[in-house]
Amino acid sequence: MLHIVNKSPYQTRNLESCLRLAKAGSAILLIEDGVYAATRDNIAAAGIKAAIGSVSVYALSPDVEARGVNNLLLDGVKLVDYGGFVDLVAEHANTQSWL
C-alpha cells in the first residue's frame, strides 16, 4: 500500500496517523508541504527515522527543491520525480491520501 502525506507536520497530525496505520512493507510518499517532514531535526523526524527500515519513505523532489530543503533531508529518504510518483502509484495495489 502507498500512503501519501501532503501537509506539514507542524500544521496537522496527518503524518502521525499515517505512521500509526502504515503496515511494514508499505511506502510513504511525502509531497507538497509534507516534504518538511523529511528534513533533519524536524518535529516528525523521530517518527520518520523509526519508520525507515520497515517502511520505504519517499519525498517528491520538485516539492523538496521548491522549498529549498534538499540539503536538510534525513538519511534514508528517497527522492522521486513526477515519473517516480506515477511509478509508485502503479506499483502499489492501493493508495491512501492523508488529506
Binding site: L21, A22, L99
Partner: protein
C-alpha cells in the same frame, strides 16, 4: 466484449467484479464540508453494489457522536444518516480505537453500532482494499 462508457472502454468481466471500497473519514462534521460530502459519496456508492466499508479515524470519529443539534449554527444535522446506512446495505463501520480514546470518547457516545479496531486491525483492513477514498 467491451461496452462504451463515455469514451472509456470497460471490459465486462472487470466491470462485473465486486470491489472492496473503503471510505476513510478523518474530519469533524461541521468545520469543513468533507464529512458531508464523504457521506454523499458513500450513499452514491451504495447504488453500485460494491463491498463498501467506512473507516473513522482522527477527527472523523466526531462525525458519529450522538446528540448533535445543529439548529443554532443553521446547518443540516446529517448524523442520523449514519443510522440509515444499514438500509442501503452499508453495514461495515469501523472506528479507530486510538482516535476515540484520544478524544475521551467510547462506543457509548456513538450514534450507530460500530466495530472498534486496533492500529494493527485498521492497518490490515485498509491495506486489503481495492480502492481507498479519503475525506
Amino acid at each position: 466484449m467491451t461496452e462504451s462508457t463515455g469514451g472509456i472502454e470497460v471490459e465486462e468481466e472487470t466491470a462485473g467484479r465486486v470491489k472492496k471500497f473503503m471510505f476513510v473519514n478523518r474530519k469533524a462534521p461541521y468545520g469543513t464540508i468533507y464529512a458531508l460530502e464523504g457521506l454523499e459519496v458513500v450513499l452514491i456508492s451504495a447504488a453500485f453494489d460494491q463491498d463498501v466499508s467506512l473507516a473513522f479515524v482522527d477527527d472523523g470519529v466526531y462525525e458519529l457522536v450522538k446528540g448533535q443539534a445543529t439548529k443554532g449554527i443553521d446547518v443540516k444535522n446529517f448524523s442520523p444518516t449514519y443510522r440509515a446506512l444499514e438500509g442501503y446495505d452499508i453495514e461495515k463501520l469501523y472506528v479507530d480505537a486510538e482516535s476515540l480514546k484520544a478524544r475521551g470518547l467510547t462506543e457509548e457516545n456513538l450514534i450507530v453500532p460500530v466495530e472498534v479496531l486496533s492500529n494493527e486491525e485498521m492497518a490490515d483492513l485498509m491495506a486489503g482494499q481495492d480502492v481507498v477514498i479519503s475525506f
